[in-house]
Amino acid sequence: MGLQAYLTLAAIVFCIGLFGVITRRNTISILLGIELMLNSVNINLVAFSRFSGDVTGMVFAVFTICITVTEAALGLAIVILLFRVRRTVTADQLDLLKG
């Protein structure tokens, strides 16, 4: 399989995540969509690294995984806080701030 295939796979995963972010109403689902988007990039990085023989991409992927995990942790913490204060996890109901 060539580089092209990996890139296509990554693009598809990215778009699935994107679709999730735009269409889901539940905040947890939106978070999952973002996770998909972030992780699809790892496929890219590793593929680029593999095909060019340069390790930077692999290292980068490790960093990305760490950062993605912290983002997920923080995201869930904010959602829990939100649920405690507002008693809802539906994104569309969070519109105190607008205009």
């Binding site: 735009i22 109403r25 939106i30 994104a91 569309d92 519109d95 105190l96 607008k98 205009g99």
Partner: protein
């Protein structure tokens, strides 16, 4: 030395702004007036020094420090005293001092902190105005330009308990912003094209370029943009609408800012860039036409106004129009001459009206006046002198300057413009004496319908009521005010004698004095135009015409408003349409309202879910604000508060960017 001139008032501002609340009125008023007098003394001293220099070296430069320097762009915070700015600083500090002194009496009924606030603004205004005229480059001038604007709004809205005052301040602000916009663009264009903003360097560069006759090149565009800026500041068509409303401010403010100094900044700016404007004859023509039209239109409106200060306001607009007319026909000296004499008699007239208003506890409607000659003798006589001067009666200051200005317009071959100026002068004489007769002659009347918003005006009136019991006979101006009125009356008589024309055996010293300021640096100052035999005869003839105009205007006023007041009424009856047009100021405000404000107001009220800040769109020209506010409220709809909409917006951005790159 030069820097001291604006520094004194700045010092006064700091004292009153920082400690004013703890100072008594005597101290804060005294400090404010003292710094102005000090500034005047320094000005007089430096101008004296300037006059001692030979003509070709008459300029004192002072670089305070290098303001901005980066790469090859160096801009100094530089002041320059040349004959033109010398005239201006003397007017500003001289008349400014008088008005400060007058204000100590006029504003005496305000509480201490308000009194100090008033004087701090007034001092700050004087400082900025001096920076404006002393600045040696556009950027320094712009500092003053913006600063005086700011102080002007603050002072118009000084009595903020009156909603009308707040609205007037807002209107002045919006209109001036339009002008400022053009002004900044003009500056940027000049800077981009010539790489300098120094007036002298600019003049030197421009002098090497052939005038743009018949073409509309960079010089014409830049100068036109600057002129649009000037129409805002100096209340010319189409941006004049704010000045009459600005009369909501205290009367000394109207005298200082909205008659004698700030509104003349536009005229000064053109004089300062005389070389630039002379190289853009197309723009100059526009300046002249706009000036003449403004002079004529404002004079006609002035004929029927009933508010004492509004008559004077329209008169100011009209006289400023005459100055622009002079600038536009290339008679820069004549324009500045009229600026200078106008400062005296218009300040006098405003302060005189202030004395009347003060005596009548805030009454401004001339239909409720009359017969005040007996009670207010000093005010009456000084006011009369001012009226004679502005009407152009021979041997008073206004005669010399107005005559000079009209003569130049005629000599340059602009007969139509001359005619417009002459008609405006005729009307000036008429409405000024209408004002004099209705205010001071006859019997006291109470003809005006009760003011609609009496309640709102009370706060202003109440200031005066405190010390004078209502019902008592009006009493004449207190000493401080009377003193100022007398000094200004003397000035109105004598100020013109610096510019006695050759035809009358004078030497027109002011024109000779100013001439170097209008010439390119290094270039030979165009020799003063020596009048030929024929031209001298022409000047005599025109002088006769001017005199006839002045006397004719007064005669009309005598006939209509003094002898047979019913004529005015019957004329209003016979030509109700004309009268109504004039009384409603040609419906300009209404036109703005109908074309700009109403559609947006109706549209936005129907379309929008959220309450509209009505005050934003109050007033007429605020329509510009309304356009912005209207689109703002539509754009706000996009900000739904829903996070998915936001993500969608970002996605649209991404698709747009990637689409642009991949499929362009």
């Amino acid at each position: 030395m030069l820097a001291l001139i604006p520094l004194f008032p700045l010092l006064g501002f700091l004292v009153n702004a920082l400690f004013g609340r703890r100072l008594s009125k005597t101290v804060s008023g005294g400090v404010a007036s003292a710094v102005m007098v000090a500034s005047f003394a320094v000005s007089a001293f430096t101008v004296w020094g300037l006059a001692g220099l030979p003509v070709e070296e008459r300029a004192i430069d002072q670089t305070v420090y290098t303001w901005i320097a980066s790469g090859d762009f160096v801009l100094d915070l530089a002041l320059r005293l040349d004959p033109l700015s010398a005239v201006m600083i003397l007017v500003i500090t001289g008349i400014g001092s008088l008005i400060h002194i007058y204000s100590t009496a006029y504003m005496h009924d305000e509480v201490d902190s308000e009194f100090a606030r008033y004087f701090s603004y007034l001092n700050l205004f004087a400082a900025f105005m001096l920076v404006l005229v002393l600045g040696a480059n556009f950027l320094v001038m712009f500092v003053g330009w913006e600063g005086v604007g700011l102080c002007s709004y603050l002072l118009i809205g000084f009595w903020f308990k009156k909603p009308s005052a707040i609205d007037a301040g807002k209107k002045a602000f919006v209109v001036n912003r339009i002008g400022d916009y053009a002004f900044i663009l003009g500056m940027l264009l000049l800077f981009a094209r010539f790489g300098t903003l120094d007036f002298q360097q600019l003049a030197a560069v421009v002098a090497g370029i052939p005038p743009e006759v018949g073409v509309f090149g960079v010089l014409s565009i830049a100068s036109l943009l600057l002129f649009v800026g000037a129409t805002g500041k100096s209340a010319q068509i189409p941006l004049y609408v704010w000045l009459p409303d600005a009369m909501e401010g205290p009367t000394p403010v109207s005298a200082l800012i909205h008659a004698a100094t700030m509104v003349t900044a536009g005229v000064y700016m053109i004089g300062r860039n005389a070389v630039l404007f002379s190289h853009a004859p197309e723009t100059l023509m526009i300046v002249a036409v706009v000036g003449a039209l403004t002079a004529l239109m404002a004079a006609t409106i002035g004929l029927v106004q009933n508010d004492m200060k509004r008559v004077l306001a329209y008169s100011t607009v009209s006289q400023l129009g005459l100055m622009f007319l002079a600038m536009g026909v290339g008679a820069f000296g004549a324009g500045i001459f009229h600026l200078y004499t106008h400062a005296f008699f218009k300040a006098l007239l405003f302060l005189g009206s202030g004395a009347v208003i003060h005596a009548l506890h805030g009454e401004q409607d001339i239909r409720n006046m009359g017969g005040l000659k007996k009670d207010l003798p000093i005010t009456y006589w000084t006011f009369l002198i001012g009226a004679l001067a502005i009407a152009g009666v021979p041997l008073l200051s206004g005669f010399f300057s107005k005559d000079e200005l009209l003569f130049e317009a005629f000599r340059e071959g602009h007969t139509v413009l001359w005619l417009m100026g002459a008609v405006a002068s005729l009307m000036t004489a008429a409405y000024m004496f209408r004002l004099v007769f209705l205010t001071f002659h006859g019997e006291r009347r109470h003809d005006a319908p009760a003011p609609v918003h009496q309640l709102e005006d009370e706060s202003a009136a109440q200031a005066h009521d405190d010390s004078h019991g209502a019902g008592a006979r009006p009493h004449d101006a207190p000493p401080a005010m009377a003193f100022v009125l007398i000094v200004l009356a003397l000035g109105s008589v004598l100020a013109g004698y610096v510019g006695v024309p050759h035809a009358l055996g004078g030497h027109n010293q002011l024109a000779a004095w100013l001439a170097p300021s209008f010439a390119a640096p290094g270039g030979v100052a165009e020799g003063l135009h020596v009048l030929s035999e024929g031209e001298a005869a022409l000047e005599f003839t025109l002088m006769g015409v001017s005199t006839a105009i002045a006397l004719g205007g007064i005669a009309i006023a005598v006939l209509i408003w003094l002898r047979r007041p019913q004529i005015a009424a019957s004329m209003a009856e016979r030509y109700p349409v004309v009268h109504r047009w004039l009384l409603n100021k040609y419906y300009v405000d209404e036109a703005y309202d109908a074309t700009v404000v109403q559609p947006i107001r109706v549209g936005s009220e129907r379309a929008l879910w959220r309450g509209f800040d009505v005050r934003v769109i109050d007033g007429a020209v605020n329509g510009v604000g309304a356009i912005v506010a209207g689109s703002a409220n539509i754009l706000r709809l996009l900000q739904t508060g829903m996070v998915r909409t936001y993500a969608g917006s970002m996605l649209i951005g991404v698709v747009f960017i990637l689409g642009y790159y991949l499929w362009r």
